[in-house]
Symmetry: C2
Subunit: 655 residues, 2 copies
């Protein structure tokens, strides 16, 4: 194996998104790619299916002259001359017949008089005080549907009212467009089933098959999953050959890049015409679009989707969705777009359209969007996001405060009921989120550290800021920092828990660490937290107290963003220790050396205490069941959860 094996990157092109889309759709048009197959199915199975032809009525509706009111049916001529002062009296079952809505009009009658307009006169007689015109309150044959006419047109996606109209026309089955079958072919020596108990290092859990199958189903197709195959162009070629015969489109994942084991584009070339290899989007760049040679009278679209999960999801949305909509003859869903204000500066390369996953929430009068992590491998950036913002390839990025259009991923409903928590990370937040979900609120947290959380609160970019900032001088937590970062704003602190902070170490504490002095002395490999994290500040305060320099700590510059991430590195053996909370150590099976106890609090604007979301937050925190669940994590005392105190305003002169 040599460096010469590396040489394929140059094959990837960089064409803009719109050009790739135009080239692809033109090729699909020219290749006559559509789904001409139809099937006849029962009406009960036809919800959301698309008609392949107009549905013609077998019967008229009504199929007889129907009474449209409860009352009496009469011959209109018999009512002539009735007035307020000279009522006409009718004899039941002789010249007036009691009818209910829907009854057939009795013979020799041609109108219905409503029950409300009748005066019972006893002895089977009723009086009326106005004449009635022929065909009054009668639904004549075919009023709604005339036999032979089209009830619903071709290409209608059938909804409940369509199905009811069709049934009213006496039709109980319909000709619909067959659902397109989309092959999902997954390649990769390293892929294993997500159910594997203990995957080996290097084994990749095959989550993309799950993603793509679900995406195909959501867009209106039937996913056809082929068994995973290794990185072997001959095997891939053979499976594609099978799939061309059996399916309407083929997705290959992954191998779409230009690396040593990326055969997709080359196999597509053998099987058809490659239209696009490489699109200037991020994530999603190494995409392959091709059209198979004609076989059995059709040309099957081939899509090579990149392997990074976010890339795969973005490419599915941009290219698989419209393809399936074409094959299924469905309209795309209405785009759910809205304006968001970005809370952070975002750099983005010129020349690439970038899809930034964000958490959007209504804070104050505007909808703010917090960008999530941008790696193409970070699938949780998509599952945590509720919207996507596109940064155009013509700009190098956007400033905080910029307003941009965003696309909702799950509708705007979830955005309106999102409670944003930007700040310090705490493991117990997951439990709080569950309690809030029961109250219809989606708590989303962005882990940026305590200080960044307070800054976000100041700039109106979050509802809540989780914080635990030690003021070394006074030995108190949070109040000093709140006054520093929000000097003239009324802020409330909601107590969440007292929690233990300490050294997270491997099981059995093999290095025998008892203090930070031990960490320094034994040159233990430490993992630190990012600047502005409360835990990082705590470390610095403890080092200062113990007379240690940061330089004495090996790994002081190695940064993670959460307690759990620190514990994961320790659990794996790639670090020896890190400062964090007991719950994180316990979750990952590590040992824990307590060094401090601190309050973790949620800062909110005092003015927002009336907001129903904040009120629900406080109520949830005061729920004994939640407190008990938090205590059960270990290292927490949640007896104070939900206590609210307002931080005293600094005198204006002191600012």
């Amino acid at each position: 194996m040599s460096a010469a094996d590396f040489g394929h990157a140059a094959f990837l092109s960089d064409i803009p998104l719109e050009e790739a889309q135009a080239r692809w759709h033109a090729a699909l048009d020219a290749g006559g790619v559509h789904n001409a197959d139809v099937e006849r199915i029962a009406l009960d199975d036809a919800l959301e299916r698309v008609t392949a032809e107009p549905v013609f009525a077998r019967l008229s509706s009504p199929h007889y002259h129907a009474c449209a009111m409860d009352g009496i049916a009469v011959a209109a001529a018999a009512t002539r001359g009735a007035t307020e002062t000279a009522p006409v009296v009718l004899r039941l079952d002789r010249d007036a017949f009691v009818v209910d809505t829907g009854d057939p009009l009795p013979p020799l009658t041609d109108a219905v008089i409503m029950v409300e307009d009748l005066e019972p006169r006893g002895e089977g007689r009723v009086a009326i005080r106005a004449p009635v015109a022929p065909w009054t309150h009668v639904r004549p044959i075919g009023e709604d549907i005339v036999a032979t006419e089209a009830i619903v047109p071709k290409r209608r996606r059938l909804g409940p009212a369509d199905l009811a109209a069709i049934a009213s026309g006496g039709v109980v089955d319909v000709q619909v467009v067959r659902l397109p079958r989309v092959a999902i072919v997954t390649t990769g020596d390293e892929l294993v089933d997500p159910a594997v108990i203990r995957p080996e290092r290097g084994a990749i859990l095959d989550s993309n098959s799950v993603l793509l199958a679900a995406a195909v189903r959501r867009y209106g197709g039937i996913p056809v999953r082929y068994p995973r195959i290794p990185d072997d162009p001959a095997r891939l070629d053979a499976v594609i050959g099978e799939a061309i015969a059996a399916c309407d489109a083929i997705i290959v994942n992954a191998g779409s890049s230009a690396g040593r084991s990326d055969f997709t584009a080359r196999v597509f070339e053998r099987r058809g015409d490659v239209l696009v290899h490489g699109v200037a989007i991020r994530p999603g760049h190494p995409l392959v679009l091709a059209l198979a040679h004609e076989s059995a009278g059709r040309r099957v679209p081939l899509l090579g989707i990149p392997g990074y999960p976010v890339s795969a999801a973005i490419c599915a949305e941009l290219f698989v969705a419209p393809l399936i909509e074409r094959l299924a003859q469905r309209d795309p869903p209405d785009p759910a777009t809205f304006e968001v204000t970005l809370t952070r500066k975002v750099f983005s390369p010129l020349g690439e359209d970038e899809f930034i996953r964000v958490v959007a929430a209504r804070v104050g009068g505007r909808i703010v969007a917090v960008p999530l992590r941008r790696g193409a491998g970070v699938i949780t950036s998509l599952s945590r996001a509720n919207a996507i913002v596109t940064i155009s390839r013509f700009t190098e990025g956007v400033h905080p405060g910029t307003t941009l259009p965003a696309r909702a991923l799950r509708g705007v409903g979830p955005i309106e009921r999102t409670l944003l928590a930007v700040g310090s990370h705490d493991v117990a937040i997951d439990l709080l989120a569950g309690a809030l979900a029961d109250r219809g609120i989606e708590l989303v947290s962005a882990n940026v550290g305590s200080v960044a959380g307070l800054v976000a609160l100041r700039s109106g970019s979050t509802h809540v800021a989780g914080t635990h900032i030690l003021d070394a001088a006074s030995g108190t937590y949070n109040d000093v920092a709140v006054r520093r970062y929000l000097p003239q704003t009324a802020v409330a602190l909601i107590a969440f828990a007292q929690r233990a902070q300490g050294l997270i170490v491997a099981p059995g504490n093999p290095l025998g660490l008892r203090s930070l002095a031990d960490v320094a002395a034994r040159r233990a490999r430490y993992v630190n937290r990012q600047r502005d994290a409360g835990t990082r500040m705590l470390l610095d305060a403890l080092l200062a107290r113990d007379g240690l320099s940061p330089d004495a700590i090996e790994g002081y510059e190695r940064l993670e963003f959460t307690h759990l991430a620190v514990a994961a590195l320790v659990a794996d053996g790639s670090a020896d220790c890190g400062l964090g909370i007991f719950a994180a150590a316990r979750a990952l099976g590590c040992d824990f050396i307590p060094l401090a106890t601190e309050p973790y609090e949620l800062a909110v604007l005092a003015a927002s205490l009336d907001d129903p979301r904040i009120a629900a937050l406080i109520a949830a925190m005061r729920d004994p069941a939640l407190r008990a669940a938090i205590d059960a994590l270990g290292g927490y005392d949640a007896a104070c959860a939900g206590d609210v105190r307002v931080v005293e305003l600094q005198p204006a002169a002191a600012v």
Copy 2:
């Protein structure tokens, strides 16, 4: 049977919609109505399901330190000192290891250098010209997901990215909210299956079960259809008892009004608390909402839905949808609202909120809405509509030109691709609609007659006006009328077909009618068309030509709106004849006595000939396959279809 049986209408109340909704939801809250049941299902079945608890990661992702680029893995320390001018040379398989994206980081390495930054030096060596920091291009353990953390929260409706994230965490099944089971109990002596070949008079095709089952499914529940039962309160009560034990909610249809056979409210009263009986909405008034007494620890909601199909659909949307969303813990779909301009004056009673079904289409710069027929029994008013406009109970109606918010029934996509044809009715329009559907255009026609169509064209309320107006003086069609109604506008007439008009008579022509003189002489029962219909004008012209007075025609005042409706009445025997086109006579099995041949043309603004929808219309009409299909209807000559002529402008002085 006597008039005393009529006395229940007074039980119906008239409470406003918001009050009914508030009362209902408060009762559901107080009754603790929710769906606490959960089930564990495989990830592959979990798309669109709602999580009942957070999903916690079993494994971290990545679960090992993963290379994030194709390239070489190195110990960062070994790259120290490399510069542009003093490259460092690394030996493959000794201090540099070829890796692909996703590979585990080899032992004793802590960084990856991209293939693009390498210079092959032969003999298994590569050079680099910059040092690399530790952990560069490495995805550390847990970068995406840390084992034990919550991957998705409780109450998440699972999309493809959620499923992929869950799989990435090594989880392959999830705890979800059980789908709510909704009983559909249909009552009515007169109901028959829509498949019945020849229903008796008075038999009503049970389309409401189809409607309600589909609605329940669309809203996220499982419909449980009970066998239809007759109008018998004891039977209804027994079935409700069964359904309370088996289902989460019960819909009874119909019997919700206050007529002779409307038992629903009384049966509900026995089974629980009736909260609402009668809501001030139209259609949909006779609605019953109740909550069953507690049984097995729960109170099951009971809904009595009115029998008229549009009423049933509206009530389902207003009351069944939110109930199922509550039970399924789903968000409602985002409302698709937009502004429309009404084309017609609409009267609506004070005190009732009325839901007007409309066809909306973009004409010129605005979206116009054509109100459809308003009867609660006209299910096609809902299947033809693409939007609904609400007329508030505080107004008596709205003027044409009024702008109102509308709600899209199938998204805004179909509205943007709707081509509106307002004017004269022609049976062949169904065929044209099918041809346009293949071109992605939804042709919707409103049958208002030729003159009303030209007026709509003038007011910018339609794209197309089907027209056949005879100018008796000149014996020509359409041009004179176009100049009368659009005197100063450039109008184009697109030929559709020459068609035969004549008398539609019963099979075998039992009255031996040969002419309008015969109709008058034999006092045949005639059905006329509405004022301003071209066919009505033709009748008047033929009567004048033959020296007959309208008074001589029995039924001159009996009006229908379409050729097919006229033919249906003749076919049924409730009329002896009517003027209409051959295709309608043939469709209903009637005989036809030709009296005239006339051009049927589509008028459009000349300026709109460039509109892609109009261009597609003309292209579709010129398609020989469509022409042949129209000819095959009989009575048509479509050789001219798609020929365009522009009507000469009247000199301004002459206006």
